[in-house]
Subunit: 292 residues, 2 copies
């Protein structure tokens, strides 16, 4: 099993540590709350995926760093809002009190709002490249996180309006987590990709399968993981009566689905990058085998 | 006193009515909540200001409609989140139950999140013009609503961390309401403006003063307006112990400040548009004389 692309993760980490959001007088507490949640560690799967995709396309990973940072800001914002008392009401995230536990509910709502705005500020201000390409990447990122994307998925989740059966479950996760994972690859294709449509389509299929794989493993870990390893409350899905791959299929069948999804992702990746894409392979392996 | 530019307001209204956000299965309730708040009426000051600015620059107002719509989506999102129980905890907005009263707190948070995302989707997908110009407008809109802008202003407001005295009050409002009003003009300058820097600077000064005028009048109306006219709870500022132009200066002195600000705005506008800009004059007059 190949290791995680740690060098890329560290570059993301350093980039995120260097970000400052609020410099105006009186707003330092907001900056603190935003950075508290942003710098809580984690594998940085989405931005690392973006950098690795740039690498697989022959570009320098550094070139897409503002995009990668923007995606992690958005991911962090979604976690802060998902954890709120009116949503999943979670107290623990990555082994620390959630943002609203640490800073209060009003500040947590604003920290999430602020991170989402800062993501677009970062992308539209700092990302280099032809303006038409940056614009296209911004449009994809907005759509992936809007009402027919991440926010819509969260709506379906909290209001339990998913369609019945496995299709409904897959649709929920495609919106809630799949679209942002897909954008982590898709926006890079728009920024530094070529017009080789067939290969770009394979990259998109790969990203889509990666989103499915991520979610199946996430659902399994919610049941089998330890709180110490997860850094969040174990069994949270069951406690909220959420439909998951485990509740739908049982653990064993979910594991089989994960393996099939992993094989599918690796096969698609081989077609997208026939000469190999080591870091993307590592990320795929990590998502499949992770224990937290 | 000249009337409000009603024709522009109606064009905005029709444009907003035509927007649909969530088409995916299971998400229609989110779409409903977003449209409930978006289509609650109002004068549409910010988008009308954007269209009028385009007109004053010799462009067709229709040209900047996606930008104008995006700005109203953002304004609506900010109202939804400001009204939340953890924030101002208001039950009434434009004469109707606030979003969280009508749809629940979780849906209201997501409706706000969704509107902000849809604003950027709209601007980055639908706004015509040179990509570099659209990009610049998007960057200004993001910055105006981020941690050093609207969200930072709301943070200062709810955590009462404004600097002391009149300067602190002005700073709070510059961030909380001034930056988005400023962007309603500033983004249009970036989209369809010329390189005549001096005139562009006058337009920006005008927009900045308009933000100040808007806030002074808003603070006066919170004390002197009727709930029927305001469509929201009267005296809300005082109830929350908020510092306002009235609490700082008293009603009479606040009225004098409003008049001075109005004169200043009109004078600056005359320099920005020496040949006259009837609709911008009407908006300025309306903001000064409005009773709700």
């Amino acid at each position: 099993m190949s290791p995680y692309p740690e060098a890329l993760r560290q570059r993301v980490e350093r980039y995120l540590e260097g970000l400052r959001f609020a410099r105006e007088p009186g707003v330092s507490g907001l900056d603190e709350a935003m950075r508290y949640s942003l710098l809580a560690g984690g594998k940085r799967i989405r931005p690392v995926l973006a950098l690795a995709t740039a690498g697989a396309l022959g570009a320098d990973a550094e070139e897409v760093m503002p995009l990668a940072g923007a995606i992690e800001l958005i991911h962090t914002y979604s976690l802060i809002h998902d954890d709120l008392p009116a949503m999943d009401d979670d107290d623990l995230r990555r082994g620390r009190p959630t943002c609203h536990k640490a800073f209060g509910e009003n500040v947590a709502i604003l920290a999430g709002d602020g991170l989402y705005a800062e993501a677009f500020r970062l992308l539209l201000t700092e990302q280099r490249g032809e303006p038409a390409r940056v614009l296209a990447a911004g449009a994809e990122l907005a759509a992936a996180t809007a009402a027919d994307g991440m926010v819509g998925g969260q709506y379906i989740d909290v209001t339990e309006t998913a369609l019945p059966g496995a299709d409904g479950l897959r649709h929920l996760h495609e919106l809630k987590t799949g679209r942002l994972i897909g954008a982590s690859v898709g926006c890079v294709l728009l920024l530094v990709g070529s017009a080789e449509d067939a290969r770009m389509r394979e990259f998109r299929s790969f990203a889509s399968e990666l989103g499915v794989l991520f979610q199946i493993v996430d659902d399994i870990l919610d049941v089998t993981g330890t709180e110490a390893a997860l850094g969040k409350t174990q069994g949270s899905d069951a406690r909220h009566g959420k439909r998951t791959y485990v509740s739908e299929y049982g653990v064993d069948q979910a594991r089989a689905l994960a393996l099939a999804s992993y094989d599918q992702a690796r096969a698609t990746l081989s077609r997208a990058a026939p000469d190999g894409a080591r870091e993307l392979e590592q990320i795929t392996d990590f998502i499949f085998t992770r224990t937290s």
